[in-house]
């Protein structure tokens, strides 16, 4: 039988996680799923849901960032008025990510750490330029959420705990989340694209975009972002950029593939279909995000 600890303070959680073999549990969704699929379980788990600070959503007064504790459930993220106001893209991702039953127990931290490549929230957070607070035996560190896309290593190491997600004080001017389900409306995504655009006076000043559910890691759509540089909202609204945007998104996927990223090729869709869908959804996401600018 696996041992399960349920610490009530962050310090205690970090200490328990320092024990070799210990792994954190948020809502336990992934662990239960693995058990049901017949996989071997670990022998030591640390349930972090009782640490109050990990379930909090609030604003960091010093920086103005929105801080979401990693043990916050997807349902709480989706229902939070402050998330709705400050990070509607994240709210959209939390709402889309799972069925209501799962959302009520799955945590944002668990969702990001367990399988970031399949996480709708990871795409949203990368597009929002979110930061991740991580605590471990060596103390706290803060990393860009885009690092979730690192192919060679997991972002959060053994003994470490994702503590909080930080959204920048100022959100994007326009945003969009596009996803595709190939096996019905209750299915997980087979390709997700999140886009955030910043614009001043009708001209783009910045953009971020990421794709998930197509490979084992999120893909930062750097080529797509580059293709938008210096564009005006009028240009973006014209629809003329749909093809270049789609091509740029696919180029990002090809770059990741060439770097060794393993693409999903499974019951939901072939990798070729996902690559195709990525382009379609990227173009739609840019158009949808553009339509929100100025609203």
């Amino acid at each position: 039988m696996a041992r399960l600890d349920s610490p009530e303070s962050l310090d205690e959680a970090v200490r328990l996680l320092a024990v070799p073999g210990a792994r954190p549990i948020g809502g336990g969704v992934a662990v239960l799923l693995r058990e049901r699929l017949g996989e071997e379980l670990g022998d030591r788990y640390v349930a972090v849901g009782r640490v109050a600070s990990l379930r909090a959503i609030g604003v960091d007064r010093a920086t103005g960032e929105l801080v979401i504790g990693s043990a916050t459930t997807l349902a709480d993220v989706a229902a939070s008025p402050i998330v709705r106001a400050r990070g509607p893209l994240l709210q959209a991702a939390a709402t889309a990510a799972a069925s209501p039953g799962i959302r009520s127990i799955a945590t944002i931290g668990g969702n990001l750490v367990d399988a970031p490549g399949d996480s709708d929230l990871a795409a949203a957070l990368i597009a929002l330029d979110a930061l991740l607070d991580i605590h471990g035996p060596a103390g706290p560190r803060r990393v860009e959420s885009a690092r979730l896309s690192a192919i060679e290593a997991t972002l959060i190491g053994l003994g470490e705990l994702l503590v909080a997600i930080r959204l920048p004080p100022v959100g994007p001017s326009g945003w969009a989340l596009q996803r595709i389900q190939t096996q019905g409306g209750g299915d997980r995504s087979s390709t997700t694209v999140a886009v955030a655009l910043r614009a001043v006076d009708g001209r783009l000043t910045g953009a971020s975009a990421a794709a998930t559910a197509i490979a084992v890691r999120p893909i930062v759509l750097a080529e797509l972002v580059a293709s938008l540089r210096g564009r005006t909202v009028v240009e973006l609204s014209s629809g003329q950029l749909a093809e270049p945007v789609a091509a740029a998104a696919r180029a990002a996927a090809d770059r990741a593939s060439n770097a060794g990223l393993r693409f999903h090729d499974d019951v939901r869709a072939s990798s070729a279909y996902r690559r195709h869908a990525l382009g379609v959804l990227a173009a739609r996401a840019v158009a949808e995000a553009t339509s929100r600018i100025g609203q």
């Binding site: 190939t182 019905g184 409306g185 072939s270 949808e288 339509s291």
Partner: protein
């Protein structure tokens, strides 16, 4: 969608007996049943699709904690049961594989342990050595000369053949101005009831008592008595409420094995499938259907023929019935002067295929009903109008040559089409709309219809008893199984109607072969009609006995009593009610008994019985939205009409009709099983997805059509009257939307996208 208030109103006036218990989790399913001293079993399954068992190494597993015994085919041989084969229609299934294995997943050993977890852990430690042999997975390949034989003792892999022909086919072919020939296919699928197969058996003094998830308690009890050499009265079989079945729980599955295990260890033994085991316990038949049609210069059908090939898997289950059902249905309910159908089902080295809601008609209608649209399109005739011209009316002959009476396909079609053509009810935003303007340019909409012709088991018998207890309760005793379809609600209402007694006094007991009489099966959408008739006749019989008893007690001739419910009153005002009669007569209860068989009528021209005592009839009209950039198909509107004859429960009828549509969307859009060297995948509900509330069409309506009062109002079950129409109606709508015909199910986005690219249907590789 239904406004909330309307649903609440229905629940109040037309309650489903077990709905509240099911929703809040009060229902006790088979998996919740336990008896003292119970041990648990887990199965060891063959990793190979075909071969000979060389050795089963039980040593490591036998030494594991909590393990009581590891059982293999040699134990069967010792017990003299190795030669036993079971199966309702074809006795071909061993209790446990003893020498040959015929599909990956076939049980070759069982571990009995103190806990289910210990049994599963030990089962994983049993080493099975199999000398693999050539296997065959495809029905067409299995039927070729020289194909590896799935069953050694048979000369070939032909599991069943059904054939029918009528008219002068050669002359019709010669006369036809145009000919059409198309092939369609559909893959295996899984019934995927949320409740898995569960069985618990115990022996007491040579008598077997068993609790099982079965759609046919009477037949399974008979089978167990035969296998173990018991008198029928020495097998007592209970069926708790089922958490869905959809055909998957038809026919014996694990019952013989679990009974054997319990006898072997002298303790009660329980076996519950894990989800992944469901996928190797029973599946839907994959099928390939070739349809040919010919029309005259005016477009009138002159002939239709079909070749239907079903993959049956390694054991028969209901394969013969599937071949027949699909064969009967494939050409549709049309006037066809000359026709011929050959429907074959082949043994393959795959998990056994069995009944699946719609029983072979799904695969058949996917072909026949799409081809009707293809013909109409080629002829430039509206497909609805083309169907109107050809649908059989009462008094016509079906393609088999047999006469049909009391048929209403035309009314079903007109109702479904009228509902689709009407503006959507409710606010316009109830129609699902694409999320953003960015998508709308990629959406193509199309409409499609399909009709359903489905037989019911003919003849089949149901017995019923209706008892009046001393506390005034009316107890309806049948072996009809409530699996969520609402049969107990239907029976209670029918009995209440005869007796003039309110539902609050009526209860239906669960199937228990010691208490409830024979019933052929809860399948084929037969219970409302056949069990319902038996129950109503039993209620009439109870009334007769009540009146007799009252006549004796009150000293008044029966015809001079007036009756209100079970209250009987004499001309001079003396009265007695049923409960008092039971007490006065010093009996435990007063019981009415009846039996009903849906005998087929006789075709006077051939003096042979017709194929089905009545025909299930339905029509479905849908509108789909196809995203041509992603291939995603969304069914936005669906309007069904099924012939009910007489509606017993309006809410129940609607739940069945709408459930048909939602259930049917799964195999239409995404449900499919694949096999890798015979090993099935996916095997979990994370990857094998079922339709959810998110897939329900934004506008979904249904009608259960009734005969006018005063004429024959033979009741029809509604369990399957629309399901077979879902795939072809959606296929027809998709073809209308994108101009490309897809002949292979499911309409997965990738397949649709490939079809759009190539302009023709392409296999998903």
């Amino acid at each position: 969608m239904t406004p909330r208030g309307e649903l609440e109103g229905l629940a109040a006036t037309d309650p489903m007996f077990d709905a509240a218990d099911r929703v809040v989790g009060r229902t006790r399913y088979a998996i919740d049943v336990g008896v003292p001293g119970m041990a648990h079993a887990a199965l060891v399954r063959s990793p190979a699709a075909a071969g000979q068992i060389v050795a089963v190494d039980r040593q490591a597993a036998g030494a594991m904690p909590g393990v009581i015994r590891v059982v293999s085919g040699t134990d069967l041989a010792t017990a003299g049961l190795a030669g036993i084969r079971f199966g309702t229609m074809t006795k071909d299934q061993p209790i446990l594989a003893t020498d040959s294995v015929r599909f990956a997943g076939e049980p070759v050993a069982a571990v009995i342990a103190e806990t289910a977890a210990a049994a599963r852990a030990a089962a994983a430690a049993v080493r099975v050595d199999i000398a693999e042999a050539m296997a065959v997975f495809d029905a067409d390949e299995a039927l070729m000369p020289g194909a590896p034989r799935v069953h050694d003792g048979r000369s070939d892999n032909l599991l069943g053949r059904w054939h029918a022909a009528s008219g002068d086919l050669a002359a019709a072919r010669a006369m036809a101005a145009r000919h059409f020939r198309h092939e369609f296919s559909s893959p295996a699928a899984q019934q995927a009831s949320l409740e898995p197969h569960v069985c618990l058996a115990r022996w007491d003094d040579g008598r077997l008592e068993i609790w099982t998830t079965s759609q046919n308690p009477s037949r399974v009890a008979e089978e167990l008595a035969r296998i173990f050499g018991l008198a029928p009265a020495d097998v007592r079989l209970h069926v708790p409420p089922l958490g869905g079945a959809y055909g998957g729980k038809n026919h014996a599955k694990h019952e013989p094995l679990v009974a054997f295990l319990a006898r072997l260890v002298g303790r009660p033994v329980k076996l519950a499938n894990w989800r992944r085991e469901e996928f190797v316990t029973v599946t839907k038949h994959p099928a390939r259907v070739l349809v040919e049609s010919g029309v005259d210069g005016d477009g009138q059908l002159l002939y239709r023929t079909a070749q239907v090939r079903f993959g049956g898997g390694a054991y028969a289950l209901s394969s013969m019935a599937v071949a027949r059902a699909g064969g009967l249905a494939v050409l549709g309910p049309y006037r066809i002067p000359a026709a011929e159908v050959e429907s074959l089902v082949a043994y393959t080295n795959l998990p056994p295929a069995g009944s699946f809601r719609g029983l072979g008609v799904n695969q058949a209608a996917w072909a026949g009903e799409q081809q009707i649209n293809m013909i109409a399109r080629e002829l430039g005739i509206d497909p609805v109008e083309y169907r109107r011209r050809h649908l059989v009316r009462s008094g016509d002959r079906l393609w088999t040559g047999e006469p049909v009476a009391d048929v209403h396909w035309l009314e079903c079609l007109e109702a479904a089409v009228a509902d689709l053509e009407a503006p959507p009810p409710g606010p316009a935003d109830s129609v699902s709309a694409p999320a953003t303007g960015a998508v709308s340019g990629a959406i193509r909409r199309g409409r499609g219809v399909a009709v359903v012709l489905k037989h019911t088991i003919t003849p089949s018998r149901s017995d019923a008893s209706v008892a009046l207890l001393a506390d005034g309760t009316i107890e309806v005793r049948t072996s009809a199984v409530d699996m969520g379809q609402g049969v107990s609600t239907v029976l209670a209402r029918l009995v209440g109607r005869v007796l003039g007694i309110g539902l609050e006094r009526i209860r239906c007991v669960l199937p228990d072969t010691a208490v409830t009489p024979f019933d052929a099966s809860s399948s084929s959408s037969r219970a409302t009609f056949v069990v319902g008739e038996a129950a109503q006749r039993a209620a009439s019989d109870l009334l007769r006995r009540l009146v007799e008893a009252a006549s004796d007690v009150l000293g008044v001739a029966p015809e001079r009593l007036t009756r209100e419910g079970d209250l009987l009153t004499t001309g001079d005002g003396r009265s007695i009610d049923g409960a008092a009669l039971v007490r006065v007569t010093a009996a435990d209860e007063l019981v009415g008994l009846a039996s009903f068989v849906n005998e087929p009528s006789i075709d006077p021209s051939t003096e042979r019985p017709v194929s089905s005592s009545h025909w299930h009839q339905g029509a479905l009209a849908v509108e789909v939205a196809v995203d041509i950039e992603t291939g995603v198909v969304r069914v936005e509107r669906a309007h069904g009409a099924a012939w009910a004859g007489e509606v017993v429960s309006a809410a129940g009828a609607r739940l069945q009709n709408e459930g048909n549509v939602v259930f049917g969307l799964g195999p239409t859009l995404f449900e499919a099983l694949a096999f890798d060297e015979g090993r099935v995948w996916p095997v979990n509900l994370m990857d094998y997805r079922l339709p959810s509330i998110a897939d329900v069409p934004g506008v979904l309506t249904s009608r259960a059509l009734e005969a006018e009062p005063g004429v024959s109002r033979e009741r029809h079950g509604l369990g399957e009257s629309l399901i077979p129409a879902v795939a072809p109606a959606v296929g027809n709508a998709v073809a209308a939307a994108i101009g490309v015909r897809i002949t292979e199910l499911p309409l997965h986005p990738e397949r649709v996208l490939n079809a759009l690219r190539t302009g023709q249907a392409v296999s998903r590789s």
